[in-house]
């Protein structure tokens, strides 16, 4: 029988994670305000935060739900434009409008996720990939041309939607990253998360276990879209200007590469991969023409040699690692501890 395995109690786990996160958040902001981090690197960090949210959100429908949607950039676009239009048209002070804009972007994107998910998720595999690609492209084309249909300027299409208040900061970006990761974590480590995973593993069996498959598929998809919308809103406030061409199939693929590289099904992997794939190209600015070539080669190599990505399906927690350290004895047999761990 198993020996006494000391586990860190739940409240303490939350506290440890929260403290570390707060340290990062406030420490980082202080460093930036103090001038220790240059403007350039601050921008890179903000972009990193946005990419992390994009990657962990796509990971919900690819890694956890087991589908392959190719239109993720469409949800980002919807969120970005919804938020930007709101902020440029409503006469509220930017500091009030921004949080509302963020939420609005997420909600609108989430609604699109539901609308697209309900028909699209009836299809499987390749067909789902194509139909989501189709929807993503339609969103882009509509954003490009809708003004001529409406008769007034809403999105400004190819001329770009300009003068969006640049309210995105390191602090609010990573605050969002923290909240998003927390919510995804709590969702996945619950009966709802298990339902979503069961669909990935074996849809027919999940059905037979009493899981309302369609409901959970749409839920996962909509959650993925919601968070992408939030990322889009942050992006709008980061760049200050929006153009539909930034949200095409290419963008969807960029995000997909990050998810695949990190390991589909691993949130930690997503964060890592997003970091690597944002930071490295920025630091190698001189070689930016090769960036996309490296991307593509990376994608192909990973699929051929290590399709499970950097972290596979491994989702760790800091507390779990601390527990292992506390309980470490030479020659001790370890358990496989994957999703079944009693984590908070």
């Amino acid at each position: 029988m198993s020996q006494q395995y000391k586990k860190i109690p739940m409240p303490l786990r939350y506290l440890i994670n929260a403290l570390l996160f707060a340290a990062f958040l406030f420490g980082g902001t202080a460093l930036i305000k103090g001038g220790a981090v240059s403007n350039y690197y601050t921008k890179v960090l903000m972009l990193l935060g946005i990419n992390i949210i994009l990657t962990v959100s796509l990971n919900i429908s690819t890694g956890y739900l087991g589908q392959l949607p190719l239109g993720h950039a469409g949800f980002m676009a919807v969120g970005a434009y919804a938020s930007a239009i709101f902020m440029t048209r409503v006469g509220l002070d930017a500091s009030v409008a921004f949080p509302i804009g963020l939420l609005l972007g997420g909600v609108v994107a989430g609604l699109f996720g539901i609308m697209i998910g309900i028909p699209a998720l009836r299809l499987k595999g390749d067909y789902l990939a194509i139909i989501t690609l189709g929807f993503g492209e339609i969103i882009r084309v509509v954003l490009l041309n809708i003004d001529s249909v409406l008769g007034f300027k809403l999105t400004y299409g190819a001329a770009s939607l300009k003068s969006i208040p640049k309210t995105t900061t390191f602090f609010n970006t990573f605050l969002c990253v923290g909240i998003v990761c927390f919510l995804i974590h709590t969702m996945m480590k619950s009966r709802h998360g298990r339902a979503i995973l069961s669909i990935r593993e074996n849809e027919i069996a999940a059905d037979a276990c009493g899981i309302h498959v369609t409901y959970y598929k749409v839920l996962g998809f909509a959650a993925s879209a919601f968070f992408a919308g939030v990322a889009g809103s942050l992006y709008a406030g980061y760049l200050g200007i929006l153009n539909p061409s930034s949200f095409g199939f290419m963008k969807s693929i960029e995000i997909l590469v990050m998810v695949v590289l990190g390991g589909m099904g691993s949130m930690v992997g997503s964060v890592l991969a997003a970091t690597v794939l944002t930071a490295v190209p920025e630091m190698l600015r001189a070689f930016s023409e090769y960036r996309m070539i490296v991307y593509s080669l990376l994608l192909i190599m990973v699929m051929i040699f290590k399709p499970s990505g950097l972290m596979g399906m491994y989702d760790f927690s800091l507390s779990h690692i601390l527990e292992k350290i506390i309980n470490w004895k030479p020659g001790r047999k370890k358990s496989a501890g994957k999703a079944g761990e009693e984590n908070g």
């Binding site: 593993e201 037979a208 358990s335």
Partner: protein
């Protein structure tokens, strides 16, 4: 077809179940696949705590019957009453909530999830809490998760598998995987448990254990169990009533003794060549 009265001659209900509504009452069930009657004129009654067997040569349509009962296929004809209620048109997951659980011929476990998680998914509708509670870790989450954890371990202990709780389901040996599937099905609190070839790939001693466990399950949970099997020792050993299927039609129904000596049954098996036991 309304107001049906179950006719005793359609089934082989054990005496102890005679007073109550049969758990399953099937009339003239049939399905066609492009002109072929895969299942035709299937009539069956199963008592509330009966262990029933469905046997027949390969391709006779046994799994098709299970698929019809769980809405994987939609019947072309016929009525299915579960606990007196017409269940045609109900979706698979609804049927599970209404009390039908099943295992699969080719094991369908959630391979990359832990053994405990597999069972907890079966408990999905047993200990519920809203998404909101989950997201913000409200008390309902903690209470339900604890209960689910305890119940999962309890269920696993039926087969003495509670120590394997953290292992990935895919890493278990074949026999253990089959047992896990049964535990998961039990977790859904069924009234009727459908087992599709539960002894496939098992050696005689494992099969013997399985027989005891099936009886134990029936006695503990007081549910009905219907199983598809090729292993005649198992079938004759624990089934109280047996229906024999050939080319989609029932050719014989009765107790093990009756079936063993029925010339029609013997011909169906011998005429097709000796059945190899799993």
């Amino acid at each position: 077809m309304d107001n049906l009265v179950p006719l005793p001659s359609l089934g082989m209900i054990p005496e102890r179940d005679l007073g109550a509504i049969p758990i399953l009452d099937i009339h003239h069930l049939g399905i066609d696949f492009g002109g072929l009657h895969a299942v035709d004129d299937f009539n069956l009654v199963i008592g509330r705590t009966e262990i029933a067997g469905l046997i027949g040569p390969n391709g006779a349509g046994k799994t098709t019957v299970f698929n019809l009962l769980t809405n994987v296929y939609t019947p072309t004809r016929g009525v299915i009453l579960l606990d007196g209620m017409d269940i045609r048109g109900k979706s698979t997951h609804q049927l599970t909530k209404l009390g039908i659980a099943r295992t699969f011929q080719n094991i369908r476990l959630f391979k990359d999830l832990s053994v405990e998680d597999n069972v907890k998914i079966g408990l999905h509708n047993a200990f519920t809490y809203s998404l909101f509670s989950a997201l913000f870790r409200l008390p309902a989450y903690w209470t339900s998760e604890r209960k689910a954890h305890e119940t999962a371990l309890e269920l696993l202990s039926i087969f003495d598998m509670q120590n394997l709780a953290d292992q990935p389901a895919g890493s278990l040996p074949y026999g253990a995987q089959r047992r896990l599937e049964i535990v998961r099905a039990l977790a859904t609190s069924p009234k009727l448990l459908l087992l599709d070839e539960p002894a496939a790939g098992m050696n005689p001693s494992e099969t013997g254990e399985l027989m005891e466990n099936i009886r134990k399950i029936r006695n503990t949970f007081e549910i009905a169990i219907m199983l598809i099997e090729h292993d005649m020792n198992l079938v004759m050993g624990i089934c109280e009533g047996i229906a024999v299927l050939n080319y989609g039609k029932i050719i014989a129904k009765g107790t093990p003794e009756q079936i063993k000596s029925d010339p029609v049954v013997i011909e169906a098996y011998l005429g097709r060549g000796k059945e190899a036991s799993a």
